[in-house]
Symmetry: C2
Subunit: 249 residues, 2 copies
Amino acid sequence: MSPANFLNKNPKNNRRENLADRIYGQIKDMIFNFELLPGDFFSEADIAERFQASRTPVREALYRLRREQYVDVHFRSGWQVKPFDFQVFEELYDVRILLEEAAIDRLCAMTETPEPLQELRDFWLADASEWITDIRLSEKDREFHSQLVAAAGNREMHQIHRDISERIHIIRRLDFTKDYRIEATYEEHGAILEAIAHHRADHAKRLMAAHIAVSRDEVRKITIHMLQEARARHLDASNNDSNDLSQNS
Amino acid sequence: MSPANFLNKNPKNNRRENLADRIYGQIKDMIFNFELLPGDFFSEADIAERFQASRTPVREALYRLRREQYVDVHFRSGWQVKPFDFQVFEELYDVRILLEEAAIDRLCAMTETPEPLQELRDFWLADASEWITDIRLSEKDREFHSQLVAAAGNREMHQIHRDISERIHIIRRLDFTKDYRIEATYEEHGAILEAIAHHRADHAKRLMAAHIAVSRDEVRKITIHMLQEARARHLDASNNDSNDLSQNS
DNA sequence: GTGCTCTAACTTGTATACAAGACAGAGCAC
DNA sequence: GTGCTCTGTCTTGTATACAAGTTAGAGCAC
């Protein structure tokens, strides 16, 4: 317990390209893109071969994904993508509402509008001719909610909110395949920002809660549909393959 | 990506004694007991030797602790116990208040009292002659707040609350070295439970917010004191040792 | 003493080897 | 066909070897 070397210096260059980090992101992408379906089994060697790496960084990535509730490990029996549990998503949405309402309270209590909020207004209260109408709006939507919480000033709250958003992103982004949700998103975000600007906390919170609840209900339907579709596709593509598709949720 | 083996079975016996898990807990204990001080540097080999294990499970434990914000890794320059950042604790306390207030709202909205709540009443509203007055009360205090949130029924909210409590536990437990806080804890917890039982949500929330805020303020003072003490002790014990104690928070 | 260069000993990141349990399926008794 | 045992091959958990970068400090020029 006596390091002889790096005694009094304050080390720097903390971040560096890291194989484990890259693989972490790639596995997550596979899950998000339904290349790995909820319920699928796979092994560390599978992933290692797929990404031309050894098991070590793969294991690091998988343990991180496990901690984040995306996968499960079974003792000497392989890994499994966690089956969807819609109850969990419901609960995450509830916590999201809670956090964003708290953020609104704090923002409305401020005497002057923080800079990030003005940027949000510029984007979401823009003329309809400038609207983004494709899948990129999904990212903008995340930013809206994330920056709103960030602007409230509690970094830990912001981090928790980011983690939650990331976990439900897998289904939330599916919300933006329907045109009327695009229009509604602009309108609702705009109204929320206006309410905050006028320090009408209760009104803003009501709008936000309704906005998130609608999003949740829409997403629920779409996801079930997507899941069935993906499962059918997968079954079809692997008729003489031995992949398992058991979905036990 | 085609596992040939564990196809259609639903694996069981998930949990097993795991070296990495054990080391994870032991390192965390060392941090909590100030054997590893905030700011201390150490290497994976140090820990591995200490626990008579290889670097592999040690790394797994450390990466988990890093994700939970207890330590930092510096590229090829060793690990460091994260220096205390009291701003972070303040923010965590705020989120705790938020979550517990939300739990109170949900509990007060219920028509009948959940079973766990009755157990809490049995303990905290007991006669003073049955009070626990030593360090074990710290654990009971955690349980009070944890079970309150759990009883509200949102498992994700409960998990987040548990994570937060765990992170601030390192300083929160120091609160129970003073007798008057023991008495106050019993009184305040009792009052909160009574208010919930009578569906007085606003009153219960006020009590809870005040209760947590007092705890936070007390703990802040005590921690600074403990930290100075531990640093002095550590310096004294390692005069002809080369451990580093730089505290750069 | 001051500042430079070099080096040796450390560090983490990654790959690989080995240990030990889990399981599918062959073979066999019946 | 049914059910048992056995075995080979798969799995993760752990230890070790190697790669590549960092740094403290010796030695030296001045």
